[in-house]
Amino acid sequence: MALFLEMSAAPRALRWLLFAGASCLSIAAWGADLKVGVISSLSGPVSALGIPYEKGIRAAHARFPEVAGHRVELVVLDDASDPATAARNARKLVNEDKVDVLVGTSGVPGAMAIAAVAQELKTPLISPTPVSLPGPDHDWTVVASQPFELMVSAVVRRMKAEGVGTVAFIGFSDALGDLAYECLVRSAGELGIAVVADERYARGDMSVAGQVLKIIGKRPDAVFAGNSGTPGALPYLELANRRYAGRIYGTHGLINADFVRVGGRSIEGLEVPSGPVLVAGQLPAGDPIREASMAFRASYEKLYGAPPTDAFSAYTYDAYLVLADAAARVRGDAQPGTPAYRQALKDAIVSTRELAGTHGIYNFGPDSRYGSDERAVVMVRMEGGQWKLAAQPAPPR
């Protein structure tokens, strides 16, 4: 009901008028604003990730409304989970809104589409989604997220430590599922664990009975799920239904409150990798990541009234931190809104050193799009509805 009151005509029109008036005033005002173009999937299948992304960057913007002496303006566009729309939005942001930096988006194909446009239009892009962009042709993009391989190899190492010899994979039949499977096979191969099944399902499926039956038939020591969000709970629910007794693992895509709620008792003991921000309170004092994470949580809580229940929003918060740090190091007297500024900004971004974010410490360089190292991953375990830092392997069942 409250929503409808929020959206009723009169207050909205008033806000419109006020906003219009204010912008007319502000246009004449200050020096160039730093414009940040944000593209995220606010609707469509990937919106479960996209909406937290938007929340995260707004939390960062609320905390640091000014960067390096410039006021920051956020322009947020929805790409409806479609890569072509994402690319079109990127073009729009650069050509029409004249943004200085792009941040986005929340699906891998979309992020790759934007990377191509960023390269063509020579605008720095900070992607909160892990994308694989081989070759030197994408030097305008950096990724403010752990590479997927890093996360998966952390899980696989934990599997090895907990005595797993065979693992079955179940994941989405989409880009995320493909990525998770490839990383699993690679890491497991290095450590001598056999991947005995590759089952897939669509996000919208109502049942995975067939797939889980096949997995149970292979009797694996563990099951690793490559999925995210509440649809990710489906395999675990079905495994519990079939009384599967082996270990269960997953990816960091599962970290959100709705997943925990839907998963219920079936995900007890689930181990997933995560950025440190999730268990910020359980990190040792004096850890720079802990500081950044607590600041993020405070800012988020202040803006939205409740602390964050997922780790995704922190990625765009980190993207903003990268941007702010780089903007402070921009050399020369180029002003925001000019191609020269974008070039300088990109140079500064690519030379980031030891920047403490919520998802790790970032060091970017010209050779790789990623800036995270092992400090960006911790293992967490689901215990009684809460994610607990699981620094040690679990005892045998």
Binding site: R12, L42, S43, D78, A80, P83, P109, M112, S173, D178
Partner: protein
């Protein structure tokens, strides 16, 4: 709109199109490119769904086949993108042919669902093949290049995209304005109508389906080399639905509707993206709500789409139809030589038709000689209509033989019998209400010429077209409607419609004319006119078989009568003798008179 005004409007639009990229930003140009690509797919839909009556929820799959084909060829095999075009079109065309042969015999709702079925299956296939990059798709597709000039920039692609769009529209317009086009416009009239003029509805629909698929394929090829990456999601059923929305919003009744619809949908989404953030923070989620609401509102005001609305508005403001071009002289089509009077034309021997346990036609035999009018009469339920359908090949006979011109046509389909020279009319008039009188009659000439869709689209059929229209005009003059050639058939009163149907049947140059209750529902004057027409035709050597109810009309007209009752033949003979026959009187009046 006067021709001059509309020509200068077109010229102005053309100039505007040419110079837009010079002034607009690359984002606007990209948007226009996307509109062009969407217009190509929507064009196929206007042809297939609007004209041909087959709703397709799978056009995006064809876009995908072409896009992936070209992408694969140019990335995995490093070939030139220009080679990707024939490869993509070939693959798309073959898939469309295979799918069409499998599903186009389905009717109505079954056909629509089958399009969802293969649309979904194909788009799933894209995401599951390793060679196609699975769900991440293929990226790094090389852009097109002419000579040394790369078409990577949206501005450069703009000209290519819109040239292709323009060519597509020209092809479609030529197609609709030709012999195959006339038959395609007749598809909604039903397979029986088309079979009666010797056209195969299934093959027409198949060709139309492949044409629409090829248009979508063109769009796919352009898409691949414009965006330079492909992934499965833009080719899903959702995308197909969006193309259908474009076609409906623009107007399925006209080719321009495709362009207008594509522009409307894409521009609206763009505008919403700009405007909504001013009103609320949650604009991302409001986009689809506002868009859908506006779309529904549009269809409330203009059911036939925006173009239908424009047409109505123009008509209301006295735009009037463009004056028809003066008919160019043409060589008449060759006519069949009529057999000498008295030669046996039709011979029915022992025809039997059973529907389950009911015997509708029970061992009926009669003959018909050239140059005579035979009437087939009988009370209700006598089996006349069934006999009629057996003759024309509309339904198969249980047993018995029919000979037409010395050939055994007992098992033949209506289509084939029509091509042999049997012209027919229908009890419930089957005219195309939105086509002109001339076009309706010209439909009858279908079987006498040959131009195919390809020749028609490329405008190589002008000679045959002139001859067809000449013939159609001749038939119209023959029945006295020559001066109303460009009126819409739907505006005629029933009697005139029946006469028009006869003209259509005559246009096929038949040996035998078979009329199904032509006098039904006619006023007295109309009946007189019809009778005179038939008598004139007989003088010219035509053989006519009439199935009729109305004794008065038939008595003064026919040479011989065959009376049926309860499926069997009762009597046969001259009208006077038949009228006096007691059995006939008993059958009609139910007792001794």
């Amino acid at each position: 709109m006067k021709p001059l005004a509309s020509r200068s409007l077109m010229a102005a639009l053309a100039v505007a199109f040419l110079v837009v990229p010079l002034f607009a930003g690359t984002f606007t140009v990209s948007l226009l490119n996307e509109i062009g690509i969407g217009a190509l797919v929507a064009l196929g839909l206007v042809l297939l769904t609007g004209v041909g009556g087959a709703t397709s929820f799978g056009q995006a799959a064809f876009v995908g086949i072409a896009a992936y084909a070209s992408a694969w060829l140019t990335t995995a095999h490093g070939m030139s993108p220009w080679l990707g075009l024939p490869f993509a079109l070939l693959l798309t065309g073959l898939s469309a042919l295979a799918i069409g042969m499998l599903t186009l015999r389905l009717g109505g709702h079954f056909l629509a669902l089958s399009t969802i079925a293969w649309g979904l299956s194909i788009s799933m296939l894209f995401g599951n093949l390793d060679a196609l990059g699975r769900h991440t798709g293929l990226s790094g597709i090389p852009p097109l290049a002419i000579g040394g000039w790369s078409l990577m920039e949206p501005r450069a692609m703009y000209y290519l995209v819109w040239t292709v769009v323009g060519l597509g529209f020209l092809f479609s317009r030529n197609l609709l304005d030709s012999r195959p086009g006339r038959a395609i416009r007749g598809l909604r009239g039903g397979a029986t109508l088309l079979a009666s003029v010797g056209a195969d509805a299934y093959r027409l629909r198949l060709s139309l389906f492949v044409t629409a698929a090829l248009l979508a394929g063109l769009a796919g090829w352009l898409y691949a080399h414009m965006n330079r990456f492909v992934s499965p999601s833009p080719f899903s059923v959702h995308a197909s639905i969006e193309y259908l929305l474009m076609a409906v919003a623009g107007g399925l009744g006209s080719l321009a509707g495709a362009l207008v619809g594509s522009g409307l949908v894409l521009a609206l989404k763009n505008v919403l993206q700009d405007v909504l953030p001013w009103l609320t923070q949650r604009s991302g989620q409001l986009d689809s709500i506002v868009f859908s609401a506006l779309f529904i509102a549009l269809l409330h005001f203009a059911r036939g789409g925006l173009m239908a609305f424009v047409r109505r508005w123009r008509r209301r403001h006295g735009a009037g139809r463009p004056a028809p071009a003066h008919a160019a002289p043409a060589r008449p089509l060759p006519n069949r030589a009529m057999p000498a009077r008295g030669t046996p034309i039709l011979s029915v021997q022992g025809a039997v038709k059973r529907f389950g346990g009911l015997v509708a036609v029970n061992d009926v035999s009669f003959d018909l000689g050239a140059g005579e009018i035979l009437g087939l009469i009988g009370p209700n339920g006598a089996g006349k209509s069934t006999m009629f359908n057996l003759l024309t090949g509309t339904i198969p006979m249980t047993s018995g033989r029919v000979r037409f011109l010395d050939r055994d046509v007992s098992g033949m389909r209506q289509l084939e019998i029509a091509r042999l020279g049997l012209g027919r009319t229908f009890q419930h008039v089957k005219l195309r209400p939105h086509m002109s009188l001339l076009d309706n009659v010209a439909l009858g000439v279908h079987a006498r010429t040959r131009p195919s869709i390809l020749r028609a689209g490329l405008r190589l059929d002008r000679e045959e077209e002139r001859r067809i229209l000449h013939e159609a005009r001749r038939q119209l003059d023959r029945i006295g409607l020559g001066d109303r050639a460009h009126e819409m058939a739907g505006s005629l009163p029933l009697g005139t419609q029946r006469i028009l149907e006869i003209a259509r049947a005559l246009a096929s140059d038949p040996f035998l004319l078979v009329l199904d209750e032509p006098a039904a529902g006619l006023r007295r004057q109309e009946k007189l006119a019809l009778g005179n027409l038939l008598r004139r035709l007989r003088e010219e050597g035509m053989t006519i078989l009439i199935v009729e109810h109305d004794m008065d009309f038939v008595m003064n007209l026919v040479d011989r009568l065959v009376v049926m009752n309860f499926g069997s033949k009762l009597v046969e003979g001259a009208p006077a003798a038949v009228r006096a026959d007691e059995r006939v009187q008993a059958a009609y009046l139910g007792g001794t008179a």
